[in-house]
Symmetry: D2
Subunit: 338 residues, 4 copies
C-alpha cells in the first residue's frame, strides 16, 4: 500500500496563476476595481525558467459573477483597460493591423468561447480591401474561426499560419476556453498574456504552439477556464475538508461559533493549520500526502475507470453567451484608436 506509483501525471491546467501559486519567486502586482481583482505577473528569463513557463506578461482578472448587469459593466471596464495596458506594454502601434482568432469548437458549448466572441468582433479589413475609406477611429481588423482538428482534420496552427502568410497582419489575438485546476476559477477568471497559446498542449512539444516564437508576430492570448476535471474537483474538496476541520478545531472552544450556522462559517480563506498527526487522523494515509500526491492518486484511481471526466457547470450556455459578449465588447473598445 506504500507502493503507490506517484509518477507525475501532467496536470491538465492552462492557468498560469495556478502554476505560479506553488512558487513565491516572481514579480507580481495587484490592483482592485470594486470586487474585481487584476493580477499582473511579469516573468523575466530567470523566473520563467524556475516555474517552467514562458518569459512574458501574465495578467489575470478575477471576478465573481458575470450575469448581473452591473458586474458585467464593471468587468467590461476592467477587461478593456487590461487589454489596452497589455497592447501598450508590448508596443502594438496604432497603424498595426490585427487578426483575431477564435479557437475551439462552436458546436461544443464549453469550447465555443472563441468562435462566439468572434461573432461580435467589429471587422474592418474588408473596407480597406474594397478600396473604401476606413473611419479613422478603427484599426484594420480581420478574424478567423479555424475550427478544431477533430472536425477539420487540420492542425489549428497550420490554418492560422496559412492565413497569416496571405494577409500579413501585424499582430495576432487568440481566444480560447481553458481547463482549470481549481473549482474556484471556472467561468470566473480571464487570463491575458503575450506568450501565446498551446492548444491541447498535453503532448509536451511545441509543434503547435501559437506564439511570437512560432509565428513571428506578437501573439496575445485571452483565455477563460470553462471546464474542470473530476480529479480537480475531488482534490479541491479534500483540501476544503482539511480547512473545514482545521477551522472547527481552532474554534472548538469558541462558544459564539456555535451560533453561526454551518453555512456561514468562513473556512474557505482559513489557512489549514492541521499538523501531520491531525491530518492523518482526518484522512489517514491520504492526510500524509502532499497536494500533488493526492492529485496523482485520484487521477490514478479515476482514469482507468474512465471517470476522470472533464465537466462544466450546467448553466454553461448562459455563461458562455455572457463571457463571449464581454470579450468581444472589450476587444472592440480596446482596439479602437482614441
Amino acid at each position: 500500500m506504500h507502493e503507490i506509483d506517484l509518477s507525475k501525471y501532467r496536470l491538465r491546467t492552462d492557468l498560469i496563476v495556478e502554476h505560479l501559486s506553488k512558487f513565491k519567486d516572481y514579480k507580481k502586482c495587484e490592483e482592485q476595481y470594486k470586487d474585481i481583482k487584476i493580477e499582473t505577473i511579469t516573468l523575466d528569463k530567470d523566473s520563467a525558467k524556475i516555474v517552467s513557463k514562458k518569459e512574458g506578461i501574465y495578467k489575470t482578472i478575477y471576478f465573481e459573477d458575470v450575469t448581473d448587469e452591473d458586474n458585467f459593466n464593471n468587468l467590461l471596464y476592467v477587461t478593456t483597460c487590461t487589454l489596452k495596458d497589455l497592447f501598450k506594454s508590448i508596443d502594438i502601434k496604432d497603424n498595426y493591423s490585427g487578426l483575431i482568432v477564435g479557437l475551439g469548437n462552436r458546436k461544443a458549448t464549453p469550447d465555443a468561447l472563441g468562435p462566439l466572441t468572434i461573432d461580435s468582433i467589429k471587422i474592418t479589413r474588408q473596407v480597406v480591401e474594397l478600396g473604401l475609406p476606413l473611419d479613422s477611429k478603427y484599426r484594420v481588423i480581420s478574424s478567423l474561426v479555424p475550427g478544431v482538428m477533430g472536425t477539420t482534420g487540420i492542425e489549428t496552427k497550420e490554418i492560422i499560419e496559412g492565413v497569416i502568410e496571405k494577409i500579413k497582419p501585424d499582430f495576432l489575438i487568440v481566444i480560447d476556453a481553458l481547463a482549470a485546476s481549481s473549482i474556484e476559477r471556472i467561468n470566473k477568471t480571464i487570463q491575458i498574456t503575450d506568450t501565446g497559446i498551446h492548444p491541447g498542449s498535453g503532448l509536451l512539444n511545441n509543434r503547435f504552439e501559437i506564439s511570437k516564437e512560432t509565428l513571428g508576430l506578437p501573439v496575445i492570448a485571452i483565455g477563460i477556464p470553462t471546464v474542470v476535471d473530476a480529479t480537480t474537483i475531488v482534490s479541491n474538496t479534500i483540501d476544503y475538508i482539511f480547512r473545514h476541520f482545521s477551522y472547527e478545531k481552532e474554534n472548538i472552544n469558541n462558544n459564539k461559533l456555535k451560533l453561526v450556522p454551518l453555512i456561514n462559517r468562513d473556512y474557505k480563506s482559513h489557512n489549514n493549520t492541521l499538523n501531520k498527526k491531525e491530518r492523518e487522523e482526518v484522512m489517514g494515509l491520504i492526510g500524509n500526502l502532499s497536494d500533488s500526491e493526492i492529485k496523482t492518486l485520484i487521477t490514478e484511481v479515476l482514469t482507468p475507470l474512465g471517470y476522470n471526466l472533464l465537466v462544466t457547470p450546467k448553466e454553461i450556455d448562459f455563461v458562455i453567451e455572457k463571457l463571449s459578449l464581454l470579450l468581444s465588447k472589450a476587444l472592440n473598445k480596446s482596439l479602437e484608436l482614441n
Copy 2:
C-alpha cells in the same frame, strides 16, 4: 470533531435504482441484450413504502456508449421494446390518444433533452383535427414543450394540466433530464416508469407532481441523468479509492498482477473488503463514516462555499443530440400500431 452534523440533506438524485440499491427487498428482473442491461423493478404497495417510492413499474436501461452507430441501433431496439412492454403492462390501448411532453429548458444544453426529443416526434393529431383520414398505423399523438418556470413564470404542471383539460388525451408521456447520484450513470442510463415525474422535486411536496394521481390519466415518465453534483463526484471517488486499496491489498502477493498496468487493473467491480481498521488507515475519520455520512460531510463542506456545482460532461452537446434522437425514434416506433 465528532460532532459532525449528519442531519440528512435530501440527495439530489432522481434515479430509482440508486435509491433501491440500498435495499434488498423488492422484485426485480434483469435482461440483457448484447452489452445493454434492462432491469425491471415492480414495487407493490408494501415494498414501495419501505423504499419511500411510489408503487409502480420502474424499468432501467444501462448502456455504455450511444455515439457509435451499432450501439445506437442496439439501444434503439432495446428502448423501443421496453417502452412497448410498459405500454402493454399498463394497458395503453390502440385507440388511446397520447400527449408527449418535453420538460426542461431548450436553451440549457444538459436540460434540453425533453424539448429536443419532441422536435423529432411524429405528430398526428392535427390530421384528425383537420378532418383528414389518419393512416391506420398511427395513434393520435400531440406534443407540448411547456418551458421551465424560470423563463415562463408558470408552473410546468399548470401548463400541462391546462392543455390536458382542453384536448383530453388518454395518456401522457413526459421526458426529462435528471440528476444522477453516481458518475457511472451520467448519459448512460434511461429510466422509464409509470409513476410520473416530480420536476425540481427537492421541495418535498407533491404540489407539482405530474402523475396519474395528480392528473387523472396514465403518465409514463422517461428520464436520462445528464448532470451530477460535485458531492457525488467526490463521494464516488472516495468509494473507488477504497476499492482500489482493497484490490491492491488482496493482490499484494500476486506476482502476476505486477505485470498488469495500473490502467488495466479491474477494481471497479471489486468488492470493497477493507475492514474498519483498514478503512481508517486509508482515510482516517472519513474511513469510519458510512457512504451517506460521507456524502453529508462533503455537502456540508462544499455547499457553504458555493462549490457543490451541478456539472455535465463537456461533450454534452453531442450526447444530448444522440440521446434525444434515440428517444424520439424509440417513441415513434413504440407508439406505432402493428
Copy 3:
C-alpha cells in the same frame, strides 16, 4: 380571353393598413418621430363594418431600417411609447397581470419572431408564485410559446385557453410574424392592435381567433410582416412599371431629367397618371385590369404551378434577431410601472 375568372381569392395579408388603404372613410391620426411614422386608426362599429375589420384601435409604425444602432434606438423609443399609449387607451391597470404569448415556429426563421421575442421578456410571475416580494416597478408577467399546430398537433388557441384558465392573467399580449401584401412593408412595419389575432386566418372562420371576444380578456396583438407571396411581388412591380412610365412620360420634355441617373429618378411616390389608353399601350389587357383583378390573375397563373411561394428576404436571420430584440425591449419598458 376576356373570360378571366375574377372570383376573388382571399388575399394573404394581415396588415390592416393595406386593407384600409382601399377606403377613405375612417378616423386616422399620424405622428412622426425622425424618419419613423406612427399611424393610429380607430374603427368604430360602423367604419369597422365598411372595411370588414374588427372594431378597435390599429396602430402602425413605419420605419426603414432596424440594423443601424441609432435607428434601432429611435424605433425602440417609438414602439415603447406606442405600446404605453395603447395600454392606456384600453385601460390596462397597474395591478393587472399579463401573459405574453410568442406565436409561430421557432425553427422557421421568418416565423420565429414570437418565440425569439419571448426569450428576452422579463418574467416576474414566478417570484410571486414562490412567495417572494416583487420589486414595485414590475407587473406580474408570465410567458408562453405554444408552438404551431403542424408540430404540436394542437390548435394554438386551445393551448392558450388552457393556460389562461389555469393562471388567469388580466390581459394577453400575442406576438406574431405576418404576411404582407406589399414589398415595401416587409420587415419595415410594426402593427399593434387591441383586436387580437387570427392565426392562419385564411379559413374564414373565427374558431381560432385569439381576441377579447373569444377569450374574455383584453388581447393586444403585435405583428411584423416578414414574408410576402410571389403574387404580391409581381403585382407591386406592375404597379411600379406604370408609375415608372407615367413619370417618364410626364418628364419627357424635361431636359434636366436626362441628367438624372435612372437610379435616382423618384417615381416611387409618383402618382400614376396614365390614362386607360396609355395603360393599355404599356401593358395591353393587363393595363385594363384593376389592381385587385391583376392580383387575381397572377394568383390564377402561379398557384396551379406551385409557384405562388411565400418568400422572405435572404438576410432574414439578422433582421429577425434585431426585430425580436426590439419588441422584447419595448415590451419590457412599456410594461414597467411608472
Copy 4:
C-alpha cells in the same frame, strides 16, 4: 417611352443550364432515375467561348422534393453516382487527398448550405496526422469553413489558398449556395462542375475565382440555388402569363377543357404560341420585348426603389437542413474507395 435603356445588367444567376438554355450548340446528355433528371454538358474550348463559360463538365441534377424520405434516398443515390462519375472523368485517383470547403455564411440560413454540409462530412486527415492507421476504405479528407468576407474581413480565396499551401491537398471540393434565375429551380437543382466557383462573381474579374486555373489543383464545385431575386420572379411570371393565355387560346373551342379546373390546366410545359400581335394584346409594349429586355426593364424599375430583393422560400430552414444532409451523405459515399 421607346427610349428604354436596355443596356444589359449582369444577370444574377450562377446556374449554367440557365445560360446555356439560350443556346443550342453544345454537347449534352440526359439521364433519368425515377423522377430525377441528370443532365451532363461538356463544353470544349470552342463551345465554351460561344456561351462565355469555362471549358469543362457541367452536371445538373433536377429533382422536385427533398423532404420526403423516398425522394431523399433516390436523390442521394443519383447525387452519389453523379459525383463518382465526375471524379472518374477528371481522374481523381484513390490515393488523392481532398480538402472540402463549405463556402457561405453559417448564420444566414439560405447561405448556410456549405458550412452545414461540412458539419457532417467524414474527416480522416487527423488520423494520418496523428500517425494512426487509416481504414483502407477511406481517403485522406480534411475540411474548411472559411466564412464570408463581410464577417472575416478576408477574401475567401485568400483563406483557402493559405490553407492549401500548408496542407497541400490533391483536389478541392467547394460547396456553395447559389442565386437562381428561375423560380422553378430554387432548392430543386444541384449543379456539379469541375470548373470551380466565383464567389460573388458579379465583379467581372477573376481575382477571386476558385478554380484549377487560380489554385493549381482540380476544383469540383457543388452548388444549389437557394435564393432568387424579385426581377426573376416577375419575369418568370410574365412568361407564365403568356403561356397561360396561349394555352387558353388554343383550347378555346375545346369543350372538355371547361370541365378541367383552372388549377389542373397544364400550361407550364405548354409552348407559348402567341404571335407578336397577340402578345401585344395581352401585355402591350411589354409583349414586344424579348425575355432579356423584360428582365432589364424590371431590374430598371425595381433596383432604384431598393426592391430587387434576393428572397428565399419561407421553409428555407427545413430545406437547407435536408439539402446539406444530402450533400454530406453523397460526398461521404462518393469519396469512399470502392
